[in-house]
Subunit: 210 residues, 2 copies
DNA sequence: CTTCTTCTGGACTTGCTAGTCCATTTTTAG
DNA sequence: CTAAAAATGGACTAGCAAGTCCAGAAGAAG
């Protein structure tokens, strides 16, 4: 059983490991580094994570996955107006510009092995939730007639999740958010222009126009 | 100086390392594994790659980056008809379905450190070339009036590169190509529908329609 | 032929890191 | 109060992998 103190220590280890990984990368982060940073010792580490490094990394990955969604709130769960979509877009760009070239989650998943069931579960939950929120947003805009009803909300949401993911990947490789912004703006332009096809209820942006 | 034999050995090491990495991942690939597989020894390795592991990995990454573009040919450099676009889309999906959850290049770049100038150079060249080809394709379709002339070809090409990248990333995490296909189809739908807005020269796909 | 360079092989060193173990302190609970 | 359970600290081990070194074979050059 865990006491309150034990729970706190466990959490401190996860947080410290997450911070260390954000600072220096997964490969360069040793268990000793984590111990040093969190004022704990190997004994603790294996006490709370009998599975060792792998189990700790998984716990960190799970934590980071939550943060990804948290950082997009409250916009992501209320995509009911074009204004909200724009705010969401800005939040995503801002979040990843801040993060820069370090993507703790991506690297963690890589390290854990993408094929691992546990790692797939973490990414699956993240992508699923993200896509669900986008889909709900698209559906609600469709109900108001601001996005063409003929659009397949599920597929479109999947496309946007992928687009954002790719923009982030490129940002991490190049340090530039240009692709992320281009892909988000193009996605929004697509959604808006779909309504134009059907009827002029929407306010198109000039994002991708010359 | 390198003799013909030396060059061949060097290449054999790169190819063997690439194969080993594709099979088992970067982290799990040791220099001894590479030596074993290529019938060489540590002596060779440091003879041809004085920079050690890092230099070897960089050489492998460069090789893999070329393959990514090669595998999309001849379609990628001739995106002048909707048929060619569709063939390109199919080639991309097929290539990555084959590859499955292993992305040698992505993992290599991760391992080398995304911030490293050398790694950024490799990814930068790859993304740049890819985007240029897409942009040329869009421009040529615009000249024929099959894509709306008002579209910003550069930004749109950037958005598509990002989208594909994201679809691939998700494929690697989940093993499903659904997102990759969704994002490619949505991108093509977007291009086609842009022409519809302007004038009915294009043949829209039903990809994203219900 | 012979001399110099390049190529090849593998044994060895060095350093690091995950994981183990156990002794000690603190907390919980009856 | 006391005994059991949980938390803590750190020294220790084992194994692995990167990188070094050197001796000898093969090949080019004159």
């Amino acid at each position: 059983m865990l006491t309150a103190k034990g729970t706190a220590t466990r959490q401190r280890i996860i947080d410290g490991a997450a911070a260390e990984i954000r600072d220096r990368g997964v490969a360069a982060t040793t268990l000793d580094d984590v111990c040093g940073r969190t004022a704990t010792s190997k004994g603790h580490l294996f006490h709370y994570f009998p599975g060792g490094r792998e189990q700790l990394l998984l716990a960190v990955a799970d934590r980071e996955a939550w943060r990804v969604l948290e950082d997009q709130q409250p916009h992501l769960s209320r995509l009911t107006t074009w204004h909200a979509w724009q705010a969401w877009r800005d939040a995503v760009v801002h979040r990843y510009q801040q993060q820069g070239v370090h993507c703790p989650l991506g690297v963690l998943i890589t390290e854990l092995g993408r094929g691992t069931p546990a790692a797939q579960a973490v990414t699956g939950r993240l992508i699923g939730q993200w896509q669900d929120d986008l889909q709900a947003g698209i559906a609600s805009m469709q109900q108001r007639g601001q996005i063409a009803g003929e659009l397949n909300a599920e597929r479109t949401a999947a496309a946007i999740v992928a687009a954002v993911q790719g923009g982030v990947t490129i940002l991490m490789s190049t340090g530039s958010s240009a692709h992320l912004e281009a892909t988000l703006d193009t996605a929004l332009l697509f959604l808006k222009s779909s309504a134009l096809d059907a009827g002029p209820d929407a306010t198109p942006s000039e994002g991708n126009r010359k």
